[in-house]
Amino acid sequence: METRNLTCINCPMGCALTIEMEGNEVISVSGNTCLRGDAYGRKEVTNPTRIVTSTVRVTGGAADMVSVKTGQDIPKGKIFECVKALRDVEVQAPIHIGDVIVSDVAGTGVDVVATKNVESR
């Protein structure tokens, strides 16, 4: 049996989780103070995911950059590929929160959306 120690990141409590595993099977999660900790621990050792945030260039806007995020969390192993896919993207103002900037980023099935409004200059 394998034991993994993680810090839960669902809230600022940062509970110290202990996860017992048998191969790829989670046997138990302990140390959490709420159910979200249990779910996080199980997911983190089997299929860790993250929301990725970055920025892309804007042309003709009141600002030069617009902040973006993945609409949902994507596999941790896809983070760099996702950021790379955004590197040369340029969008035309106006941009509004929720506008799709890149669809199906890095083959994850998840869209990258704007998180800020940038009006035309």
Binding site: P12, G14, I51, D64
Partner: protein
């Protein structure tokens, strides 16, 4: 001279939430003064997610969180002026401000809400030897450059200080292709939130060296490298532990200081521990009708709590303007922070002015495990809450109810402390 019921200094998260709540409390004449080109303050450069879990029960990025409040400010028709710098405020609440359109002008306010936020501690405050080459930035400056201006400050990075902005920037610069070699922290614990250490350092294999500091910066025109050394319990570098890291950039994330020049100028009394104003239960300073909230009052970890605190300041300022506060009883109870508790906000409670519930916020001075947060009403312990861990980087709160106070009519002081049992 123009007159407003409430003038709010700063259009960041605190100013926005204070304005919305003052308006919802029935005040129509409100003006927000903001020096930047847009509302939202520092949230505009905080593009990472994790904001709003408490307020909106979802994870938003900084700009999205700000937008939720900006929309409300606009829908409620609250007036604001951008590009406007407040120069000073007199104790009679006359605000002097300037912008390029109106020039220098004065506004008379019935109540003022201070919501100017904070600034980063700079290199000059650290006494690091070495030349003054290019390539040394505060973490927040680097954040603005990368996220708003679209420039990368460097390629090989060392970060001094493990405050949240430094941790966030370690990840951000890594994603943008930089190599973040190490984060050094003077204290034996991190000043940042745990989840930031996990998501920004552990995820990317960036080492965090606790009890370490920068003892030398190499390079004359541009940073060429820094030397780290371990420090002893008195924070003095230990000879023989020096280690050289070549890098072109040094980011500093070594603390935030509330920006209170205007407050001091108008005669607001300060708390030397927080570097923010001393306030009572209404978040009112020693000057009647002058309120403070957000990072200008004390530095917060979570914007959700800034919004909550600022909403209280907005309601209280509205009540002050409307003169609905019952002032028959002016008994003042002092709050004392001792034995591990560094400060409390507020530091004075007037029971007659309390809302039904009051959140007292505080920070501890070092890391405590398996201990108790205790509150004493005079000599009687009224709260004894077990905690697995308490850390200076995470703000704590205790809720006191007005009802509780009515049972102690002779109460003189409330003491907050950390106890082992």
């Amino acid at each position: 001279m123009k007159n407003y019921d409430i003038v709010i200094i700063g259009g960041g998260p605190a100013g926005l939430a204070a304005a919305v709540s003052a308006k919802q409390s029935g005040i129509d004449s409100i003006l927000i003064l903001e020096r930047d080109k847009e509302l939202g303050g520092i949230l505009n450069q905080c593009i990472h997610n994790g904001f709003g879990l408490h307020t909106f029960k979802e994870e938003l990025t900084g700009p999205e969180y700000a937008e939720r409040f900006i929309v409300q400010v606009k829908e409620l028709g609250i007036e604001y002026r951008l590009h406007t710098m407040v120069l000073d405020i007199r104790s009679d609440k006359t605000v002097s401000a300037m912008n390029s359109e109106d020039g220098l002008f004065e506004i008379q306010a019935k109540a003022v809400i201070l919501a100017m936020g904070c600034r980063e501690r700079a290199r000059g405050a650290l006494n690091i030897p070495g030349y003054r080459p290019a390539g040394i930035y505060s973490a927040g400056t680097a954040q603005r450059l990368v996220n708003m201006e679209g420039y990368m400050p460097g390629r090989e990075v060392v970060i001094l200080g493990s405050g949240d902005i430094g941790l966030i920037m370690a990840r951000r610069m890594t994603l943008e292709g930089a190599k973040v070699k190490v984060v050094a922290e003077l204290m034996p614990y991190s000043g940042g939130l745990k989840r930031n250490i996990v998501q920004c350092l552990d995820d990317y294999g960036i080492p965090l060296k606790l009890s370490h500091t920068v003892v030398d910066i190499k390079g004359k025109e541009r940073v060429e490298g820094v030397t780290l050394a371990q420090v002893d319990e008195k924070s003095k570098p230990i000879p023989g532990t020096e280690e050289f890291y070549s890098c072109d950039t040094l980011l500093l994330s070594v603390g935030l200081i509330p920006e209170n020049e205007i407050s001091r100028g108008m005669g607001v009394e300060m708390n030397p521990v927080t570097s923010g104003p001393k306030v009572n239960e209404s978040l009112e300073t020693n000057l009647e009708g002058v309120f403070a909230c957000g990072n200008v009052l004390h530095v917060h970890d979570l914007v959700d709590f800034v919004s909550e605190e600022a909403a209280a300041a907005g309601r209280n300022a509205a009540a002050y303007v409307k003169e609905t506060v019952n002032t028959s009883e002016e008994r003042e109870i002092g709050l004392v922070a001792t034995e591990g508790v560094r400060y409390t906000v507020p530091s004075i409670i007037r029971v007659a002015h309390m809302e039904d519930n009051l959140k007292v916020r505080f920070r501890v001075g070092s890391v405590y495990q398996n201990c108790f947060v205790s509150v004493y009403f005079d000599d009687e312990r009224v709260l004894h809450r077990k905690r697995q861990v308490l850390a200076p980087g995470e703000m704590e709160e205790v809720k006191l109810s007005k009802e509780q106070f009515l049972q102690y009519p002779k109460l003189q002081k409330i003491t907050f402390k950390i106890e082992e049992e």
